[in-house]
């Protein structure tokens, strides 16, 4: 499935040359919401500051004016309430797309996500479902301090019944968000806010290129979807496999380019359900595996990836699996770049991986 999807995507990107439209990730997300609000009267968008103002990152700009305030509206500052009412709306038959303003704020809503949304289909034997898509900006690199920088994806991949999706490009953000909204299971949709406006390379002391210079900012108009559970091979290579998602896809890509190594870079795009076939095929080819995520290390999603690769690809491995992650500390404000798994940390890991 993933191979076909990749082909379709490349074709889409290639044919957009005439009258091409380049969007940044915010615009792509806004367009996905716009399309789904127009296509499906059951879709509603709600969250703190998402209505008249259009969201603190502008992801919902213009949507209230277009669809009215009973379909796009502000909520009280209560993540428990936002997710709780979304579950009730889902039971009614709506398809809510709540926004949690920062992933760091999602914790008051965890009981409603973990005990309610995730288990509703199971506990009611399909009588009720929770077709919500919870959008939330996540990740650091914006001097957000410890409360505007976290990457809590592993808390959600650990929960049976939730799907976790993380795009890394405007093209993917639009197609994945449409697929997430159409999905009948609850989806956590984490948006890497560091790359809302450009594909950050991790070289924080260098200027960031805007999305318009990146091929995946070519976003076709109208409806398209990228199926959940399909990874994207960003770059084919022979030397080793990089498993990454979100911002770290671009950082890993830049570091590999700078080091001149022939890496195969896989953007997972969906953590649950995971595209294990694409991972297995790549490791079988390269025999080496580097896992990169920004989240803290211990019990991070990288641990799951490392275990899966060890269990399923052990006899293809020519070197120990290497993880590059954030440190097991809160995200520090002034020392943000010391925390961030940037080019130095990734570069060292590549050297280790290729040593033997």
């Amino acid at each position: 499935m993933s191979a076909e999807t990749n082909t379709v995507e490349s074709a889409a990107a290639a044919t957009a040359a005439e009258g091409e439209r380049r969007l940044n990730m915010i615009e792509a997300i806004n367009e996905a919401l716009d399309i789904m609000l127009a296509r499906d009267p059951d879709v509603i968008v709600m969250g703190e500051d998402v209505g008249y103002f259009g969201g603190v990152f502008r992801a919902t700009a213009g949507l209230q004016a277009k669809y009215g305030k009973t379909r796009v509206f502000d909520t009280p500052i209560s993540e428990c309430g936002i997710i709780g009412v979304a579950v009730g709306m889902g039971a009614y038959g709506l398809r809510p797309v709540p926004e949690i303003q920062f992933a760091d704020y999602i914790y008051p809503g965890l009981d409603q996500l973990i005990s309610e949304a995730a288990r509703l289909r199971y506990r009611s034997a399909g009588d009720y479902t929770a077709p919500l898509t919870v959008r939330s900006p996540f990740g650091g690199g914006i001097f957000g301090g410890q409360t505007h920088s976290q990457s809590p994806e592993a808390l959600f991949t650990h929960v049976a019944g939730l799907k976790t999706v993380i795009p890394s490009t405007p093209y993917d953000a639009k197609g994945l968000l449409i697929a997430a909204i159409e999905d009948n299971d609850p989806v956590i949709f984490f948006e890497p806010k560091r790359i809302y406006n450009g594909p950050f390379s991790g070289y924080y002391d260098q200027p960031v290129a805007p999305w318009k210079t990146h091929p995946d900012s070519l976003v076709p108009e109208g409806y398209y979807r990228i199926p959940l559970g399909s990874a994207r091979v960003v770059r084919e290579g022979e030397a080793f496999t990089v498993l990454a998602y979100g911002t770290m896809v671009h950082v890993a890509e830049a570091v590999c380019r700078a080091k001149g190594v022939d890496a195969e870079i896989i953007d997972l795009r969906t953590l649950v359900p995971l595209d294990i076939k694409t991972i297995e095929a790549s490791i079988a080819k390269t025999g080496r595996c580097l896992i990169v995520h920004e989240a803290t290390r211990t019990s991070g999603f990288g641990a799951e990836l490392a275990a899966l690769v060890a269990e399923r690809c052990f006899y293809h491995l020519e070197a120990p699996i290497v993880r590059v992650t954030g440190f097991d500390t809160p995200y520090p404000h002034s020392l943000e770049w010391a925390y961030f798994p940037g080019p130095v940390r990734i570069g060292e890991a590549i050297d280790t991986l290729l040593k033997d």
């Binding site: 009981d111 409603q112 559970g229």
Partner: protein, 436 residues
Amino acid sequence: MAEPRSPGERAPAKPNRPALALHVPEPKYRPGDKVDFSHLEIPPAGAQPRPDESVHPSAIHDLAFGLIRVLGEDHHAHGPWNPRLDPETLRTMLGHMALVRAFDERMFRGQRQGKTSFYMKCTGEEATSVATAMALASDDMVFPSYRQQGILIARGYPLIDMINQIYSNRADKLKGRQLPIMYSSRAHSFFSISGNLATQCPQAVGWAMASAMRGDSRIAASWVGEGSTAEGDFHAACTFAAVYNAPVILNVINNQWAISSFSGFAGAERTTFAARGLGYGIAALRVDGNDALACYAAAAWAAARARGNHGPTIIEYFTYRAEGHSTSDDPSAYRSAQEREEWPLGDPINRLKQHLIAIGEWDEERHAAMDLACAEKVKATTKEAEKNGILGHGLHHPFHTMFEDVYEELPWHLQEQAEQAIRERIAKFGSERPFG
């Protein structure tokens, strides 16, 4: 005041500043104590005014502190809250409540006999679900807690489906996945019971908001225990209900006890639970929960208010949990057994029965016959359900169903785990038995 030597340092002790003391609530009566409820203010039936359903919440503060009562000591209905139900409806109400009690008796015994793992009775609280449910339309959406079996019975949910669920057997509509009594029935507009507390409150508000968005006419109602009003979810529900003027009824069943914690641990020493609504600007009623007519009248008032787009209502039902929290606790270990006997608001079934007798629409013989019929019905249905199996005796759903409904479609990792589970069964039994 002497300055500390450096900023932030503790100042020297001040003899004229009193020592602080932490208050930890303690119930009035513990096991063996003599019980006296004379401190409870019980106004006479009929004493509370009944405002128009469109009233502004600020105009009815007193109703959050009083006690709406209809059935008096004389067993007659009094005052403006008398719902004036016809005798046939009253007999139906009585019949539902009697069936709930008979059902509870049998299921509790079934748990003690090892037929299932767990059960929860609602003895003494039957009116708060039966009468309240009867005041709603049958398609109004209910988000119950775990002690509202009366709603299902009032809505005609088949007893056998309840028992199959309690036994977690092969006919259990929830496929043996839920703890006993955590029912779900979309067909009866009855939401899936969670078991996590108060989560249903914001969900009911969200359902009601959706109904209002769509210009529907159906309203939502949730039930929560007084102990669980301490959860953040309850307060989130109140905020959203007030902000969006949601057509919802937030029922609080104040049965005095949350397992072994008395209502003081949810704040009852300071104010009433109905009064929680006042800070949010939500209409609030406090009702005699053992008076089925008062329960019905309050719910009907709140339903009319919600349906008229006048907004949400919090109703506190002041009642008493006559039995343990569940089959897993022994109430004699933490409260006085005299409480049940001394409870000043009586028993809801007996009060409705006496009312029907007082108005000449019922008698002891008919009541005894009804009780017998309820017991026989429950007994016969139980026997029928047992043909589908009891917990732990093999007649459960096919093995593979354990992995279904986690997601709409089975992902690869669950497919692999399902295969592993089947290998384990074959290793143990030599074959994958269809129901074992």
